[in-house]
């Protein structure tokens, strides 16, 4: 049975998860083993989600949705052995200092932080293994 506050569900009947928080307006306290759930959706960055992983199997043009100031998303990107080349919505993505040369490394940790509704500040760090 869902738990509600004034008629609004705050813990739902998550059949598979045993109940998920929803409609929460704020959280205070501390946490330890509380982590983002990895998501995979080739070519799509939905900033409703905190963490993505993607293994490219072709050159891929990403789209980004739900850009809301303050939201952050991490993409763990494997460009594969080829390597394949990712491309980004340049009108929205703002790399610092410049967009990296993706072929320099196979693995990338891409950090995205939404500064405005059409402005995502991005850093990308390359790894070889």
């Amino acid at each position: 049975m869902a738990i509600k506050i004034d008629g609004t569900t705050v813990i739902n009947n998550g059949v598979y998860t045993g109940g998920a928080l929803q409609n929460i307006l704020d959280i205070t306290g501390v946490y330890d083993h509380f982590r983002p759930s990895p998501s995979a959706n080739a070519g799509v960055i939905d900033m409703n989600y905190p963490f993505y992983y993607d293994v490219l199997t072709t050159n891929t043009t990403y789209t980004v949705t739900n850009v809301v100031p303050g939201r952050t998303t991490i993409l763990d990107l494997d460009t594969s052995a080829t390597p394949w080349t990712p491309s980004w919505p340049t009108s929205v993505f703002n790399f610092a200092p410049t967009e990296p040369t993706w072929s320099d490394h196979r693995y990338w940790l891409v950090n995205m932080a939404a500064y405005g509704g059409t402005d995502v500040r991005v850093t990308a760090i390359g790894y070889d293994a």
Binding site: I3, I5, D6, T8, V10, T17, L21, N23, I24, L25, D26, I27, T28, G29, V30, Y31, D32, H33, F34, R35, P36, S37, S39, N48, Y49, P50, V68, P69, G70, R71, T72, N94, A96, P97, A113, Y115, G116, R121, T123
Partner: protein, 269 residues
């Protein structure tokens, strides 16, 4: 009604989780709020933004080991200089040169209740001191928006000054989807202050849906100047305008001047 565990509220009546001593599991759509600050970096706030309007000394509060926070910092077009306390420790003990960029994203990790390790990433270094307002055209060579529509469809031709600093004109079918002077007009960046526009009719007349002419209008609101042909055949509405943009509401400090025309024609058949 609040949810309590052992007499302690864990979800209050405004759907805020509180007094949590630990959490396990996973999350997806859980985001930090973006909170504006002026001078205090509060480590109970995970994501902060400070838009500086003067040189500013920042202090910290609620430091505890393990607390982390992000700070979006906009040093303005001046740019203004931030000063951080000696508690903030930078990589290689070297504080960034703040004048090298306007926008900064600063990651802050409390090493203890006193020390904070910080990293700063710069964005858009080219706009550090270069916000520019510009218009174009001359009285002998107007920039022109032309719309031609078939009989039965209103023709709209005009110019739209958007709040993000861009200028759009109508395409041939009358839709405002044609950016004009990209990266230059009317401002080369999202404006850091409120500018003011004044459109003066040189010939012709503005049509319905237009902003007021001959008045200084704040550009923190989208401003549209257009002509509309609602009748097939007959006269063709047009208007030639002089636009001026100033940094003040009285139009004393004029930054740019330009000439723009609009012609709308609903064809007879």
């Amino acid at each position: 009604m609040a949810i309590k565990v052992g007499g302690t509220t864990v979800i209050n009546n405004t759907r805020q989780i509180e007094n949590i001593t630990g959490a396990t599991g996973v999350y997806t759509g859980l985001h930090q709020n973006l909170t504006s600050i002026s001078t205090v970096i509060d480590f109970t706030i995970p994501m902060m933004i400070a838009i500086m309007s003067s040189n500013t000394t920042f202090t910290e509060s609620n430091k505890n080991g393990g607390h982390t926070a992000f700070l979006f910092l906009d040093t303005g077009t001046a740019p203004y200089i931030p000063t951080f306390s000696a508690n903030i420790i930078w990589p290689d003990s070297t504080e960034p040169t703040w004048t090298s960029a306007r926008y900064w994203q600063i990651g802050l990790v409390c090493w203890s209740s006193t020390e904070v390790r910080a990293t700063a990433v710069a964005y858009q270094p080219s706009v550090a001191v270069s916000e520019t307002v510009a218009l174009s055209g001359s009285s002998g060579s107007y920039n022109t928006a032309l719309s031609i529509t078939p009989n039965g469809a209103d023709a709209v031709a005009g110019w739209k000054f958007k709040t993000d600093g861009t200028l759009f004109r109508t395409n041939i079918t009358g839709t405002y989807n044609a950016q004009f002077g990209a990266g230059t007009e009317w401002c080369n960046d999202t404006p850091s202050q409120t500018y003011y526009i004044n459109g003066t009719v040189q010939s012709g007349a503005l049509g319905s849906g237009s902003s007021v002419a001959n008045a200084w209008l704040a550009l923190n609101v989208e401003r549209t100047f257009q002509v509309v042909d609602t009748t097939a055949g007959g006269s063709i509405p047009s208007c030639n305008m002089l636009f001026r943009i100033a940094s003040d509401s009285g139009g004393v400090n004029i930054l740019a001047t330009g000439y723009y025309a609009m012609i709308a024609n609903q064809e007879a058949q």
